[in-house]
């Protein structure tokens, strides 16, 4: 492999010319290796703390509400409901976390959800076009909206806060225009099935849906395979890997959680279509953010804009595509939401942007950019979802729900700031 020619040229030639009279810097890493290893471990731990922290919080919140609702929270029907109710917020959060990692914000997604839903409804309900055409046109509108906002942010250089605040008004106004201020409903069945539908009974089953379980099993197998391949690759490159029993334990844990979820779904109405859409999006965007050059550039821009620019990152181009992508995902959420509500309302999607943004920050994204994960945002969104759902089941007043959600967001960001300050002090 000839990937590092300069290094070869420069450093294989002769040893370092040592001069006995040269004052030497005190060796920081010069002590026994163990210290270094402990430091590394601590470093890895503190860096993963905000990630692992929210997983623990997630489990605790599920446990709490399961207990408070006498297990109602985890009943098959309710588990299905949580995904149907918060699916579109999660879809928005995927795009939003990328926007936030790059150091921007998008306040317009709620309005874009309304606009794309309205356009789709006009095409399908009012003009009688087939459902697939409505979906395509909605996605097209989303891309255009994204390109519009990306243009102003990336090429004109207006802060995203302002551009998307303007967009929030602009696209809400357009929605009212498109709908002539009245709701449209209902959609034909095939459109309604996009988010309201289930895939079940394909493989039969008695009281539960075998297909759902098979899909889950295939998913787990795929996950295990990719993890194994990953591990083999690391071993081939002589990198440290976790001990094999630990590795297996992790796989088993994931398998158990997924199968338990599938089991509950199978005993309700089967596999929700929206969960399939969500699954595909999460996988795709996890890969994009962690394994591609584009994803790396997003983190670089958010982490240190000037350094990214001086490393040859085409910042404007990347920023533009971040917003195009956000527009696209907002359109997907728009289709899902209009499908679920089986129609389009002028006031649809209000406050969605805030839920999506909250999901990202609870999920460990940093307010100053450069930090965040798609999986984190998903867990953040689910924390919000489970809390709302749990409080609804308990019949807690809407006013109290709002206050609690607000406090959770505040505490999550306070935790982030606290972490950062500690990291800064250690520097």
């Amino acid at each position: 492999m000839n990937a590092i020619p300069a290094l070869k040229d420069v450093f294989t030639r002769g040893q370092r010319q040592s001069d006995p009279d040269t004052p030497r810097a005190p060796e920081q890493g010069g002590e026994p290796r163990v210290v270094g290893a402990v430091d590394a471990l601590r470093d890895v731990f503190t860096r993963n703390l905000r990630q692992s922290g929210i997983y623990i919080a997630f489990v605790a919140i599920i446990g709490l509400f399961a207990w408070l609702t006498d297990g109602l929270l985890l009943s098959p029907d309710n588990v299905t409901n949580v995904f149907l109710q918060y699916g579109y917020i999660l879809i928005l959060a995927i795009g939003m976390v990328i926007v936030i990692i790059a150091g921007h914000i998008d306040l317009s997604v709620g309005s874009v959800v309304a606009l794309t839903g309205a356009v789709s409804a006009t095409f399908v309900i009012k003009q009688g076009h087939p459902s697939w055409l409505g979906v395509l046109v909605a996605l097209g509108v989303g891309l255009l909206v994204g390109a519009w906002q990306g243009f102003w942010v990336a090429f004109v250089g207006i802060p995203a806060f302002i551009v998307t605040l303007a967009g929030m008004l602009l696209f809400r106004g357009m929605t009212l225009r498109v709908l002539h201020n009245i709701s449209l409903s209902p959609f034909p069945t095939d459109y309604h099935n996009i988010a309201g539908g289930f895939i079940n009974g394909v493989l039969g089953g008695n009281g539960y849906d075998v297909f759902t379980l098979v899909v889950a099993a295939v998913g787990i197998a795929g996950y295990a395979y990719s993890q194994l391949r990953n591990r083999r690759g690391r071993i081939r490159y002589q990198q440290s890997v976790e001990a094999f029993p630990l590795f297996v334990l992790r796989l088993v844990l994931v398998a158990v959680v997924v199968m338990a979820l599938a089991w509950q779904l199978a005993h309700s109405r089967g596999l929700p279509v929206v969960l399939i859409i969500l699954g595909i999006l999460i996988m795709t965007y996890s890969v994009i953010t962690t394994k591609t050059v584009f994803g790396r550039h997003v983190y670089a821009i958010g982490g240190n804009l000037s350094a990214a620019q001086l490393s040859g990152v085409k910042v404007k181009k990347v920023n533009f595509w971040i917003f195009v992508n956000m527009g696209f995902l907002a359109a997907v959420a728009g289709v899902v939401f209009s499908s679920r509500s089986n129609g389009s309302q002028p006031a649809a999607g209000q406050m969605f942007e805030l839920d999506a943004i909250a999901a990202c920050f609870i999920g460990g994204a940093s307010t100053t950019g450069g930090v965040g994960r798609v999986t984190g945002a998903m867990v953040g969104g689910l924390i919000m979802g489970v809390m709302s759902n749990g409080m609804q089941l308990m019949g807690i007043d809407q006013s109290v729900q709002q206050m609690i959600k607000g406090l959770v967001l505040l505490l999550a960001v306070a935790f982030d700031i606290y972490n950062k300050r500690r990291a800064g002090a250690a520097r």
């Binding site: 290094l7 240190n304 001086l310 490393s311």
Partner: protein, 513 residues
Amino acid sequence: MAQPILEMRSITKTFPGVKALQDVSLSVAPGEVHAICGENGAGKSTLMKVLSGVYPHGTYDGEILFEGEEVAFGSINDSEARGIVIIHQELALVPYLSVAENIFLGNERVRRGLINWNQANSEASALLRRVGLDELPVTPVGHLGVGKQQLVEIAKALSKKVRLLILDEPTAALNDTDSEHLLGLLRQLQAEGITSIMISHKLNEIAEIADSTTIIRDGRTIETLDMHADKVTQERIIKGMVGRDLDHRFPPHEPSVRDEEILRIENWTVHHPTDPDRVVVDDASLYVRAGEVVGIAGLMGAGRTELAMSVFGRSYGRNITGKVFVRGREVTIRDVDDAIGHGIAYATEDRKKYGLNLIEDIRTNISAASLRKFSSFGWINANEEIRVAEEYRQSMKIKAPTVLATAGKLSGGNQQKVVLSKWIHTDPDVLILDEPTRGIDVGAKYEIYTIINRLADAGKAVVVISSELPELIGICDRIYTLAFGRITGVLPREQATQENLMELMTKERDTVR
């Protein structure tokens, strides 16, 4: 001689790992203009910050006597209460507020809780007349040029009943007329009994106006010259400013210059990005050969970094004109990506601000400028990335347990090695290293010099920009000098002495032409 108005005795100030000031003493007679000279980083500004209370009493050793009594300033407000006012190099005015508002900022003319604008504006007018500035007190400061803003700063100082005025590089950003006016004003204030301390790089101005000059080098007082008695020349000051021993600070290196010319810049002119009338780099031409280490010497504000960054993908400035040749062929460089593509690398002088993503790990930083090499169709091979980063960690002796350690937690020297690794991996033909050893300790410096030598031996062209003249003389084959945006000379290693360089670096406009 009368009792000194200010006496600083044995001031020692340490920052973590660095002794910025060591046993510095300064004595200023009442009513004089006292100049302080020294190279960049010699400790001049630190000394003034100690004096003005920016570094409060207790964070330094030594004592300060003002008007005969010992003082212990806890903040800048304390020193201002005693009539010591400092005017920083970067002006501290609010551009959107008026002249009068700026003058009385933090010191408002208040009656019954409300600002008395009539009083403020009329007092401001009087102060403006005193400093010879013909502007209305209601004009927003942003509408004034730098020279006039400087005068507003002085008016602000006068409003605080100043006894000792400290000016840090007051004329650095001024043109000749404005400088002349400012120096005239200092003389006038002197006649009114106000003592001034002036930090300046412009030796001709010092020779013209100063009554005495204190020279600081490497955080120590070298000498104080009486400018009237000794018939002090500019050469005499230069001699004091330089002159360190160079023993064993640089690895031995046989020049490896080849005939092949790698980079040539011709008639390069760059204008200031926000002030397009100001020429920052003026008609500069230079070339670098394969295996050659070329230095660029210049004082602060001479346009060194601006020259480098404007060549590196137009990262600085506007209205850039001139030609760049790489290996004899003229190239067009529109952005950083183009520059990297043409084999140019630029390691910035400010690692933390422009060089590194401090919240990411070493690996991510090393691969940041060469992700293409680690990816196919946009997919990054993370294992390959880690392997390469690991090789650099070992060969560059980056002191970190793994390449997954956060870059922000490394020491300055190790951060610099990460930056160098990043650029070496882009496989450049020419590396421009801007202040490669700023803020790092002596041992790490030695290692960086060794790396530079190896790069040259491998046939790379290396350009080193540095404020430390001994460093340039110690490692460069040829040194260009830059003064006020112009290239004022080029000296081969044999002829490069600190005195020669300093003379070329302080060459004024008229003597160049």
